[in-house]
């Protein structure tokens, strides 16, 4: 078809046939589908939040904002407060990420940049295999193997040498927030490693060649080029890992000791929001009791939202500080 004929044909087009043409082209359908799928995800999230809100009405009315600062959880007299759980969740998930993120990134760098070719596939496989271990198995292994043979001696060591720090105060128990933290840091590794490895692998080689060509060492190339380039993806992995850490139930419940203790010490037993829900929801028989547990779910939901808003603000600030050359 000549260009002139094409122009003539287009001039003849009414708005209607323009629409038909675009539908035939397929993009209208495609875009509609993406919008619909996106809306579904948003709606499901909103619906979850809404159900949590609606079904905790009794507890919200009874305890109000005191729920967040209440330190008592007594099903017998139906007095409920969320603070010990809120505290436990924040403490364990933050420390778990502090341990897991450097190690996870280290492995990802090792897998994508350093490891000999014959090692990459099997090692990557092994890490992903860890993702397939059900959490009840993590919990049983943690309780019967990991806590007595690693966590307890390690906790004793920390207490002996660093006991003057509030977070390492005694007495030492096996099941503790430290145990939960370590189990969580192992559990989030697959997510962190697998995604950040793929992020590193997806970075074009020109980035590497450019940096090395200018005389950077391999480490400088990684920290100054690869990490800034893949920052968004790495943060995505960290956020998924954080979500996993905050929402994990059975494995944490098995090793944390389930105690309302509010001390700073990592070596003491504690409690998390996900654990209290997992522990008591199925046996909660009165309305107020059940709704208080659902309100814990609501608080966790809100906390996740808050953490993500903070994370986005941080990313935004960091992104502004990274010179654009590195991202080109």
């Amino acid at each position: 078809m000549s260009v002139i004929a094409e122009i003539k044909r287009q001039k003849r087009n009414s708005p209607w046939s323009e629409l038909v043409r675009r539908i035939e082209h397929g993009d209208v359908i495609f875009r509609t589908l993406t919008v619909v799928a996106g809306l579904l995800v948003v709606l499901v999230t909103a619906a979850t939040g809404f159900e949590l809100w609606q079904n905790s009405a009794l507890a919200r009315a009874k305890f109000g904002l005191d729920f967040l600062t209440g330190t008592n959880w007594d099903p017998v007299i139906e007095d409920f407060g969320a603070l010990p759980f809120l505290y436990g969740t924040i403490q364990t998930s933050i420390f778990a990420l502090l341990i897991a993120v450097p190690i996870g990134l280290g492995i990802a760098i090792f897998l994508s940049e350093l490891a000999p070719a014959w090692l990459r596939q099997p090692l990557g496989f092994l890490v992903e295999l860890l993702a397939a271990v059900p959490s009840v198995i993590f919990g049983l292994w943690g309780l019967y193997v990991f806590v007595p043979s690693v966590v307890k001696p390690f906790a004793q060591f920390l207490n002996d040498n660093l006991g003057f720090l509030p977070i390492f105060q005694g007495p030492v128990f096996g099941p503790s927030r430290l145990a939960a933290t370590l189990i969580l840091s192992i559990m989030v590794l697959p997510t962190l490693v697998a995604i950040s490895r793929d992020v590193f692998l997806a970075i074009p080689n020109a980035q590497r060649e450019g940096a090395l060509g200018l005389g950077a060492t391999q480490w400088e190339m990684i920290t100054q080029n690869l990490i800034p380039y893949g920052l968004s993806g790495i943060l995505g992995a960290i956020i998924l890992a954080l979500g996993r850490a905050m929402g994990e139930t059975i494995a944490v419940t098995m090793v944390i000791g389930n105690n309302l203790d509010l001390s700073a010490s990592l070596l003491h037993p504690g409690y998390t929001m996900a654990s209290i829900i997992a522990n008591e929801f199925t046996e909660a028989t009165t309305d107020l009791y059940r709704e208080a547990l659902i309100e814990i779910g609501l608080v966790l939901f809100a906390l996740t939202l808050l953490v993500n808003i903070i994370a986005r603000l941080l990313v935004w600030r960091v992104a502004r500080r990274i010179p654009t050359e590195a991202r080109a």
Binding site: D27, L33, T34, V35, A37, G38, V41, V42, V44, A47, T48, E51, L52, G106, I107, L114, A115, L126, V127, L129, A131, A132, V133, P134, S135, V136, I137, L140, W141, F146, I186, L189, V193, A194, I195, D198, V199, L201, A202, L214, A216, T217, E220, Q224, G233, G236, L240, G243, G247, T249, I250, A274, I277, A278, F281, G297, F301, T304, N308, P323
Partner: protein, 298 residues
């Protein structure tokens, strides 16, 4: 960071003054990365070894071909749970993968619109909701309205748990596809959807599969949401509107029992579950690399 200098020039500047230090830092940090890998391998091998050690004794051919037996009745297997898990996870994938991938394209194409921001927030928040809450949610939506437990409600609960992982990973992997590829495709007159399916998705495929496999691995092992949805079933069932057995639920039931016989079966079931997920991963990777070779060949 020296604000006036670009990192590259900063690097050159330091190179002249302090070449040796840089080399040492480089060696030390790279060694630390290797050490990180080593540290992570220890619990990994340990836990897998433990599962094998505890579980392998209860494995036999019967374990794969028979139905569960009560305590004290010898033999018995987990055929119903293997099939049940395949069905429930299959439903979860059928819902979650298309929705996640399509939504990821939206976020990729329009990250800064209101909907784009909302989708990203939603996925991040969903990823932190404990799985038991998702089970209760699916219970409300399906079980209470239909009046009975079903495989479908279980699949639905798992689909929600899986979605953030697949969506988020896909989005990040799409972002890393060089812009030139997309521009090239569009410049050649390809429609958006063609570009998405024939250019972007294949280019990001390896990472997308990682996301899908992480999602499957995660939900295949979830017991908590199954209690109120798929419910469990000691008999063989493939009906979507009936209660159905799943592997993680079976592990849970066996693991909390007082009897050694069942406790051993819990570990064996876990071993089977891990092996199955791994098998799936191998197949998925195999198919992906075969596809990639086919594409390159063209």
């Amino acid at each position: 960071m020296e604000s006036a200098l670009s990192p590259v020039r900063a690097a050159q500047h330091r190179a002249r003054s302090n070449y040796r230090t840089r080399q040492i830092v480089n060696r030390v940090m790279l060694a630390l990365c290797g050490l990180a890998a080593l540290i992570a391998v220890i619990p990994l091998v340990w836990i897998l070894g433990y599962v094998v050690q505890r579980g392998v004794g209860a494995l036999s051919l019967d374990f794969f071909t028979q139905l569960p037996t009560p305590v004290g009745v010898p033999g018995g297997g987990i055929l119903n749970a293997i099939v049940g898990s395949a069905i429930v996870v299959g439903i979860a994938c059928a819902i979650s993968i298309p929705v996640s991938l399509t939504a990821a394209f939206y976020v990729y194409a329009r990250p800064n619109t209101l909907l784009g921001t909302l989708i990203r927030f939603s996925t991040d928040v969903l990823s932190g909701v404990p799985s038991i809450i998702m089970g209760i949610f699916a219970y409300t939506v399906f079980v209470l309205t239909q009046g009975h437990f079903s495989a479908l409600s279980g699949g639905f609960a798992l689909a929600i748990i899986m979605t953030p992982i697949v969506l988020r990973t896909t989005e990040e992997m799409l972002k890393l596809v060089p812009k030139t590829l997309r521009d090239g495709s569009l410049a050649l007159g390809a429609a958006d959807w063609r570009t998405a399916l024939n250019v972007l998705l294949p280019a990001a495929m390896s990472g997308v599969i990682t996301g899908i496999m992480l999602g499957i691995a995660r939900v295949a092992g979830e017991a908590a949401p199954m209690l109120f949805t798929a419910f469990g079933n000691p008999f063989f069932s493939t009906a979507l509107d009936q209660p159905i057995a799943t592997l993680p639920h079976q592990i849970y039931v066996y693991a909390i029992s007082p009897y050694r016989d069942w406790q051993d079966k819990a570990w064996a079931t876990a071993l089977v579950l891990i092996a199955l997920v791994m098998g799936l991963e191998i197949i998925a990777r195999g198919v992906a690399s075969w596809q990639e070779r086919k594409l390159r060949g063209r």
